[in-house]
Symmetry: C2
Subunit: 401 residues, 2 copies
C-alpha cells in the first residue's frame, strides 16, 4: 500500500533530533527521504544506546529516528558535493535542515539560492530562535534543554515550590519537528494550486511557546505568573498523582458530581459535606489539605486495586506507567505502536511505530535505518544518472563515501 | 494574503483542547473553520481566565484556542440538526472531532456513514486510546493528565528520585492536536491525487508514546527502565539547570572541549584535570558530585551576569524564563509570537501567535474567537442557502441558537 506522500522526494540535511523528527514523519507517511550525511555521519549515530558495537551503524537512538530513510554521504565542503546537492534539489519536492542559522548561506544554499535552483521546492529550516532574528539571537546555539528553559515551559514543570524540571523527552525538538511537518504539508497543498514553493522558518523556542496554552493568556490578562504545580491542575481539584501502596496513580475528578461519587468510592462520605471541599473552587483553594487526606486513603491499596475500583465507579484514573509498563501495554501493542524492524547487521529491533493511523494510507515502518552511505550509489545512479566510472572518481576525490 | 489552506472548509465538532488545537492550526493556515457547538457551547467557554464577566463569551482560554474560527450552534440531538450537519459535510473538506469513542456512532456519523455522505471528506478523530481499541480501552475517558501518566511521559518527568511531575502545559492534548493536523494534511495531499477521503484515528496516549524518543529504545534494547532526572540529560553532563544568585539558569556543555572552556570561564581550571570529570562519561557517572561543585560556583552571580559571561565564551546557556519574561522577550515579539487580537465585547486581547512562518502563506491571527453562535445565520444562509423564514423556524424549534 503506497503512503499518502508516496511520490514526494525529500532531501534531508538534518541531524540529531528536530529535523530528523520531521523527515521521519514524512518518511513514515510514504515520502522518499534521502538523508544527506557528511562523511563523518549524522552526530546522532554516536548517541547511545548502542545495539552492538559502539560505532556509527549501531546506535539505537539513530535507528529509532531514521527508519524508512536512505543515506547518501556527500561532502558539502567540496564544489562537486555542492553540485550534486544542487542537481538533487532540482528533482526534489522538499528540503529540510536544522543547521545553525548562517550555515546554509555559507554553503551557498540560502533561500534565494534555493529558489533559483528549483522555484517549486519547499524548504523547511528549524533552529532555536528562527533565521529571521534580531542580531543578538541570530547565531545562538540551541539544544532541547535550552529551548525548554527559554520558552517558559520549564518554569511550569516540576514540583510546587521546587526546582524547575525538564520534560523527560526532548519535547522542544519534537514539537518543532511536528510543526515543520505541518508547515511543509500546508506548503505542499499551496504548491499544488500555484506551482510555487516556499520557505518555512521554524523556531524551537516559538514552537514550545505556542504550546503553553492557558499560561500565556493567564499572564497577559491578569499579570499573574503561572508556576509549576507538580502534577496538579491550576483550576481543577483533585486532578493529580497520588502515591498508591506500590506506585503512583493519577485521579482526575472533573466536577462536583464526580467528587461526591469519588468520596463514596473511597468510603469517605464524610468529605462530601466538608465545607473546605464542597465545590471545585474550594477544593482548589484547599488543595494541600485535601491532598494530605486523599493521600492517606489512596496509599492503602495497590495501583491495580485502585484501577479496578475507580474504573468500576466511573472515576477517570490512570497508573503512572513506567517505560516497561507502557511498552508491554495491550492497547499500545494492539495498535502496532511498538514494531519490530529488521536492522542490517543488528537483527530485529523494537522501536515506536507511527501514530498516523490513516484508514487508506497509514504511516508505516517499512525498513530499519540505513547504514552510513548505504544508498549513495543507488541515489546517484538512479536519480541523477551518474555513471559508475564517475562514482568511482567521486569516491576517490572524497566527495562521496 | 490568502493562507496556504484557503478554500478548505473544516467542520469542527471539537471541544476543549486536543481537537481545537488541530482546527486552530488549520484556521491559522487559512482554512475556513466552522466550529459547531451545542446550544450550551464548547465546555472550554467555561474555563478561566475570564476577561470580563464570567460567562460563555469571555473565557481567555477559549479565545486563545478559537481565534480565526466561526461559531455555529446546532443541536445535534434533533433530527433537523443532524440533517444540517449532513448538508454541511457534503460541501466540506475536513471533519474533526474529539468526542469519546462511540458518540459519533450514536449521533449517526460513524466513519461508514460519513463516507456515504461525502466520499471525499477527510475525517479526523482524536481520543485517549483510539477508536480501534481492545474492548476494555474503547470507552475509557481521557484527560491530558491521564495520557501523560499512561503514556510513560510522567515517569520521565520530575526531580531525580522525587515524585512524578506533569508537563506544565497539556502536552498530551497538544501533541495529539499536531499529529491530527499532520494526518489531515497528508490525507489532503492523497485526496488531491485520488479524490478519496480517509479517516485518521488519533490516540493521545500513542501520540505521547511516539515522542518518548530514546526512552523506548533504551528499554527495548537493554531492559533498563529510564527514570526522571530533574533537568539533567541521561548521557551528557553538565547539561542541566543550576541556581544562579537570583534565579535558575541552564548550562549545556556538549563535549569535552567545551568542558575545558567552561572550567576556565568559571575560573575553576583545577576541575579540568580532576579525574572524576575528565570525559563526558565520567562527568555523567559523577554527576551529583559535579553538580554540587558547579552549583557552588554558579550561585555567585545573577542569571544576567552569567548569560553575558557564558555567551561571550560560547557556552550554550539560557535563563529559565518565567511566563512574564518570555512574553516580554524581544525575539518572541520581533517574530509576532504574541499578538493583539480584537475580541468582540472585550477589546484587545494578547494571545500567542502562529509559529507557522511560511514565506508566502504564513499562519496568521486574523480575528478573535466567535461569540457563541455568532455565525449560525451566516453559515446557514451563505453555504446552505437556507431562507430567513426557515432560520426563524429552526430557531423556534431549538435546532439552532
Amino acid at each position: 500500500m503506497p503512503g499518502a506522500l508516496s511520490g514526494i522526494r525529500v532531501i534531508d540535511l538534518t541531524h540529531v533530533l528536530a529535523g530528523p523528527t520531521t523527515t521521519m514523519i514524512l518518511a513514515d507517511l510514504g515520502a522518499e527521504v534521502i538523508h544527506v550525511e557528511p562523511p563523518t555521519g549524522d552526530d546522532a549515530r554516536e548517541y547511545g544506546p548502542f545495539l552492538q558495537k559502539v560505532d556509527k551503524n549501531h546506535s539505537g537512538y539513530f535507528i529509532s529516528l531514521n527508519r524508512n530513510k536512505k543515506s547518501l554521504v556527500l561532502n558539502l565542503k567540496s564544489p562537486k558535493g555542492k553540485e550534486i546537492l544542487r542537481e538533487l534539489l532540482k528533482v526534489s519536492d522538499v528540503l529540510v535542515e536544522n543547521y545553525r542559522p548562517g550555515t546554509m548561506r555559507s554553503l551557498g544554499f540560502d533561500w534565494p539560492d534555493i529558489q533559483k535552483i528549483n522555484p517549486g521546492l519547499i524548504y523547511a529550516s528549524i533552529s532555536g530562535f528562527g533565521h529571521e532574528a534580531l542580531p543578538e539571537y541570530a547565531r545562538l546555539p540551541s539544544y532541547d534543554v535550552i529551548t525548554q528553559a527559554y520558552s517558559g515551559l520549564m518554569s511550569l514543570t516540576g514540583p510546587e515550590n521546587g526546582p524547575p524540571c525538564r520534560v523527560g523527552s526532548s519535547i522542544g525538538d519534537i514539537v518543532a519537528g511536528h510543526q515543520a511537518a505541518i508547515g511543509i504539508l500546508a506548503a505542499l497543498h499551496h504548491r499544488t494550486l500555484t506551482g510555487r514553493g516556499q520557505w518555512f522558518d521554524g523556531s524551537m523556542v516559538e514552537g514550545l511557546f505556542s504550546t503553553l496554552e492557558n499560561a500565556v493568556i493567564r499572564y497577559t490578562s491578569s499579570g499573574e505568573i503561572p508556576k509549576a504545580l507538580g502534577t496538579a491542575h491550576p483550576t481543577i481539584t483533585p486532578f493529580q498523582a497520588f502515591r498508591a501502596l506500590d506506585s503512583w496513580i493519577v485521579v482526575a475528578v472533573g466536577n462536583d458530581k464526580m467528587w461526591v461519587c469519588f468520596c463514596k468510592t473511597l468510603g469517605r462520605g464524610d468529605l462530601i459535606d466538608d465545607r473546605r471541599f464542597r465545590t471545585n473552587p474550594l477544593r482548589t483553594k484547599n488543595r494541600e489539605a485535601l491532598a494530605r487526606i486523599l493521600g492517606e486513603e489512596l496509599v492503602k491499596k495497590t495501583s491495580k486495586e485502585w484501577m479496578t475500583i475507580l474504573e468500576k465507579d466511573g472515576i477517570p484514573c490512570s497508573p503512572v506507567n513506567d517505560i516497561k509498563q507502557i511498552c508491554e501495554d495491550p492497547q499500545i501493542n494492539y495498535r502496532d505502536m511498538l514494531v519490530d524492524v529488521e536492522q542490517s547487521d543488528v537483527g530485529k529491533v523494537k522501536i515506536a511505530g507511527s501514530p498516523y493511523r490513516l484508514s487508506e494510507t497509514p504511516g508505516t515502518v517499512r525498513s530499519g535505518a540505513p547504514v552510513l552511505g548505504e544508498h549513495t550509489e543507488e541515489v546517484l545512479t538512479s536519480i541523477l544518472k551518474i555513471s559508475h566510472a564517475e562514482i568511482l572518481s567521486l569516491r576517490e576525490e572524497g566527495v562521496i563515501n
